[in-house]
């Protein structure tokens, strides 16, 4: 074998070996770090993993946010307007976290509730992540298939899938003013169920 060929062979073998190694490691890393998104309805139906982490997508139910004084623990309910799931989070919530806002929480089930390690709300407050919108749409479709009609009245509500944001006036009324609706202990009369956005 002449030196040129030998060198090429070595180079090709090295490249092949590293590509193989990189592929194996990549697949491994992907499998370790992939999380799926589920809606509360899917969790209810038992489709979500029981012990491993997953992402929960939905809307923060109006009037469901409770804070535990003296700690950073916040409890709230994530809903797809058909099923609710109680979420527990300890830490500082993102700026755009508020009731009616769509959120994606990463965490796992512990008992009957979801313990979140991370809560994301999008930077644009009028925007519902497509994934959340789809999850809600899916929940609605599943619901319709189930043939239940008593909740159909919900679709008389807004057609826009993004529920109203907490009114800005709440913020303007002064810092830390007597807790607004967000921290009220009484949930408001259950809001109409909005139909999912788009199609």
């Amino acid at each position: 074998m002449n030196p040129v060929r030998k060198r090429r062979l070595i180079a090709a073998a090295l490249i092949l070996a590293s590509v193989a190694a990189a592929t194996a490691l990549t697949v491994f890393a992907l499998q370790q770090n992939m999380t799926y998104l589920y809606s509360p309805s899917e969790v209810e139906a038992g489709k979500s993993p029981i012990s491993t982490p997953f992402r929960l997508g939905g809307v923060v139910r109006e009037g469901s946010i409770r804070r535990v004084s003296g700690t950073l623990q916040t409890d709230f309910t994530v809903t797809d307007r058909f099923h609710d799931l109680r979420v527990q989070y300890t830490g500082i919530l993102p700026d755009l976290f508020r009731e009616g806002q769509s959120v994606i929480a990463t965490g796992h089930m512990s008992g009957g509730h979801f313990t979140a390690t991370e809560v994301l709300a999008k930077h644009d407050e009028t925007y519902m992540p497509k994934e959340v919108a789809d999850a809600i749409a899916k929940a609605k479709a599943a619901h319709r298939e189930a043939g239940s009609s008593e909740q159909g009245a919900g679709s008389r509500g807004k057609t826009d899938g993004v529920p109203d944001l907490s009114p800005p006036t709440q913020k303007k009324s002064g810092p830390g003013q007597a807790p607004g609706p967000a921290r009220s202990s009484l949930p408001p009369a259950s809001s109409p169920l909005p139909a999912p956005p788009q199609k």
């Binding site: 770090n33 407050e125 002064g174 810092p175 788009q198």
Partner: protein
């Protein structure tokens, strides 16, 4: 009326770019000089009209012309004037226009400075740049027209997203785009070389400073983005492996590989086909990045459904650019192969190892970024790829690169002396171990902090070793030409970055705490006393501003004022307050008020605060800026400006390219 003129200017620019694409390339093909000579005036004309369009859009923002839909969506009467400039590129339509404007600036520079290139080659380069501009202008006009009217005009606009109302935004996109778009020059060179079927080392030499400058800008843009996220998002992190960040990071990685591959082609004539391929990839990834970020495809593939035209256009243009250039590459690459042979132990091999690691890293980032789209398209489910995937693979892939880095400059081209590697390795490893011991004494306990100290010292001492070698061996005055100084600078940047990234990660103390006024939190070696919250007013926001006294062992250090701002439409934006330092940042950001408030206005209530002690975090950006400086310095070398009469590497004919006998020295 004026916005319609802007649209007209864009249409004229589109027509000129079409001509700029077709005429010079046809001229070069037919060897028709007058046709080739049209390239320059067409490029100038296109620049003028795009400049006019950009000026008109800027005017619409300054004059608050809400009859223009784009202005109405991204500005309002309360927006201070200094944010109306960056608002021009605050959303999709305007940033696309900025992209084209910057492309035209680069094209103009190529037209003006490329006079020394052979006429046909120069015409082809400008033609390819014209094609890219044509694609973007067509995209802008057909799917995202910035001058679309909103009739009747609203009394007031919406608002610029508060996240974007930061000095970081003024800098970040234009600098980043300078980098993205700068790779178009290397791309145009590659395509022109493939079209002509020949590649002279002199042309690669000529294109090197462009790549270096583009890469320098991209480094600066990424640093600006990282710093902005750190100070603006209130999370205190500097990199999240977010799809948007990845979009800018992939071209950077391939660009870094390209910078080095071009050096090999320039100096040794080797790796030509690889250099061309990297140039194609770097620009393709820039295109992908621009489109992915601005079209919203990344949050979901279904964003296509929101505006199907945009999505289809994106896919079509990417297919034409990437597919077309790869096809051309497949057909023509064999004509450009060549170069001097090199031994297994040589500088070329080490550079190749680095290249391989950088491109594989870019590929893994690409996979992780696009995987959710694939999963969705195949209906597997809503997948998200977590940051640990990227972190794990990136660390792994960069390890061989970092290990090889100090040795590449110390090795000779063609054939290195392994005995000299051994000597250098002893010194470098010795110094690294010494640094590790000193770090241990100074308090760096644990595996990660020690790894940070030793890895950084490894790179820094290796680079210093080379600087000393040059000092001893080269005659005074010729010791550090700018090209080499740039390399040293960028490699020092790598070392500084490693120190910053690993030490920040492992030594940071991050705590979320609930405090009532007067209460103190102990974070790291520091005491943070919370003194309550008061209201304060800005030009277009109302903020709740906290006061936090920081002290160490009873000695006052600084008073921090984190804010939670509320903008006109009710958007809330956290402004972290940071006490910067060379060795550590003290960082406080304000969360929410918790629990029942007691005083009037609620200022005595309990608040959630995020308190960080972040050592060495500035080193991350310092490292990035040193890399940028390295790119700029290297580009300024005289060597690139002088064109030699007889290029030493003669045009290679399609023969067996690596037979040593055929190589001329």
């Amino acid at each position: 009326m004026i916005p319609e003129l802007g649209q007209l200017a864009l249409i004229l620019a589109l027509l000129l770019s079409a001509l700029q694409c077709v005429l010079p390339i046809v001229g070069a093909w037919r060897d028709h000089r007058p046709l080739m000579a049209t390239a320059r005036p067409l490029a100038v004309g296109q620049f003028v009209f795009v400049g006019i369009a950009f000026g008109i859009l800027t005017h619409a923002f300054l004059a608050q012309d809400f009859s223009v839909a784009y202005v109405a969506q991204n500005s309002n009467l309360q927006l201070p004037w200094w944010y109306r400039f960056p608002a021009v590129w605050g959303a999709h339509e305007g940033s696309l226009l900025l992209w084209v404007l910057i492309l035209d600036i680069w094209t103009l520079a190529v037209a003006a400075l490329g006079g020394k290139l052979p006429e046909r080659f120069h015409a082809r380069v400008l033609g390819v740049l014209g094609f890219v501009a044509f694609g973007f202008l067509l995209f802008s006009l057909t799917t995202s027209n910035p001058f679309a009217r909103l009739i009747p005009a609203p009394m007031d606009g919406a608002d610029l997203n508060p996240v974007l109302q930061d000095p970081g935004l003024i800098m970040h996109p234009p600098v980043l785009y300078m980098g993205y778009v700068g790779f178009s020059v290397a791309f145009a060179f590659a395509i022109a070389a493939l079209l002509g079927g020949e590649l002279q080392s002199a042309w690669v030499r000529w294109s090197r400073p462009w790549t270096n400058v583009a890469w320098g800008f991209l480094s600066a843009g990424i640093v600006a983005g990282s710093w902005w996220a750190y100070s603006e998002l209130g999370w205190g992190g500097w990199w999240f492996w977010d799809p948007v960040e990845n979009a800018s990071f992939m071209p950077w990685l391939v660009g870094a590989a390209l910078v080095h591959a071009q050096a090999v082609t320039d100096k040794r004539g080797g790796l030509r086909a690889w250099t061309l391929l990297l140039a194609i990839f770097a620009f393709s990834l820039s295109l992908l990045g621009t489109f992915l970020v601005r079209s919203g495809v990344l949050t979901s593939v279904h964003s296509f459904a929101a505006d199907p035209k945009r999505g289809v256009f994106i896919l079509g243009f990417l297919a034409v650019v990437v597919g077309g250039s790869l096809l051309l590459y497949a057909l023509r690459a064999r004509f450009v192969a060549g170069g001097k042979p090199f031994a297994l132990a040589s500088r070329e091999t080490l550079i190749l190892v680095g290249n391989l690691m950088l491109t594989v890293a870019a590929a893994t980032v690409l996979l992780g970024t696009l995987y959710p789209l694939v999963g969705e398209a195949l209906d597997i489910g809503r997948i998200s790829v977590g940051a640990p995937y990227f972190g794990f693979l990136f660390m792994l892939l960069m390890t061989p690169l970092v290990l090889a880095l100090p040795f590449a400059p110390l090795s000779r081209w063609g054939k290195a002396d392994p005995a000299s590697w051994k000597r250098a390795a002893w010194r470098i490893v010795g110094l690294s171990v010494l640094a590790g011991i000193i770090g241990w004494i100074l308090g760096a306990r644990g595996f990660m902090p020690l790894l940070g100290v030793t890895a950084a010292t490894y790179v820094l001492s290796g680079t210093a070793l080379y600087a000393i070698k040059r000092w001893k061996e080269a005659p005074a005055g010729k010791r550090y030409p700018l090209e080499m100084f740039g390399m040293l600078c960028a490699h020092v940047g790598v070392g500084v970055f490693i120190a910053g990234a690993i030490l920040t990660r492992s030594l940071s103390v991050e705590q979320d705490v609930a405090l009532v006024p007067g209460q103190t939190a102990h974070v790291g070696a520091y005491d943070f006393r919370f003194d309550g919250v008061a209201e304060t007013q800005g030009p277009n926001w109302l903020a709740q501003q906290g006061t936090v006294e920081v002290s160490r062992n009873g000695e006052a250090i600084v008073t921090l004022h984190p804010q939670k701002r509320t903008y006109p439409r009710g958007q809330v934006q956290t402004e972290a307050s940071i006490h910067p330092g060379v060795f550590r940042d003290l960082y406080v950001s304000l969360g929410d008020p918790i629990g029942p408030s007691t005083g009037p206005g609620g200022t005595n209530g309990e608040w959630a605060l995020r308190v960080y002690d972040k050592p060495f975090v500035r080193w991350i950006w310092a490292g990035g800026l040193l890399m940028m400086l390295g790119g700029f310095c290297a580009a300024a070398d005289k060597r690139f400006r002088v064109r030699r009469e007889a290029p030493e590497a003669v045009v290679e004919t399609p023969s067996i390219p690596t037979r040593p006998a055929e190589q001329n020295a």
